[in-house]
Chain length 137, copies 2
Amino acid sequence: MMKEIILATHGRLSEEFKRTVELIVGATTNIRCFCMTKEKSEDSAKEELEKLIQDSNEDRLIVLTDLFGGSAANICAELLMRGHHFRLLAGLNLPMLLTILTMDNDEISTNNLIEESLKAGSEGVLNVNNILLKGSD
Amino acid sequence: MMKEIILATHGRLSEEFKRTVELIVGATTNIRCFCMTKEKSEDSAKEELEKLIQDSNEDRLIVLTDLFGGSAANICAELLMRGHHFRLLAGLNLPMLLTILTMDNDEISTNNLIEESLKAGSEGVLNVNNILLKGSD
């Protein structure tokens, strides 16, 4: 079974990440989005995000948030502390999300997949000037 | 003088990053966006991005791209190899962009600002489950 993915961010960044990544890998069926927009109260945000998570199989649910300490990440952390057991990452970028989508298969465990995803996310943060300089040595 | 920022990504991710970060820090005046959409030919994309860069003061220009090896990052790398001298980062995420916007001032050099931004970007990629586990030790 494919892992389940929830993108949970400020604004509509989550929806645009979904649209943009689908330009690269094609349509997906396992990504849902939560948008922390200005119009949403904290209570309605909590309710909506909790419902998205409850409707998942948490054993294979990975929630990707934009910012540790941000609204969506805080709501998710609270749910984990109340006994939920999905995986929660912060610092969402395209390498992180692309890695999850392209490496996911029936054999890879959720833990291994998030390790690969975290690695791709942090190693994908690059100073390209330095890479070009090294290449021209 | 404030640094100049260009967000250059697949799809409309750059525009949504701008909108979303402005929900957090308020309106900005130093961010421009380039969107590599399906409709754009490679030639027109190159032309558009080169124009954005030529209209900048490259000494204080930082271009943030979504993915090393992706279209926007490749076009920018080509411009650097042809003698342009802006700063080019990959792996755009919210901690990276927020750090640039909140640490920028007249005293900080462009090089120091991108070092801080790269650090925030890679260190912002986090396994939140592990942080919560450590917190409960």
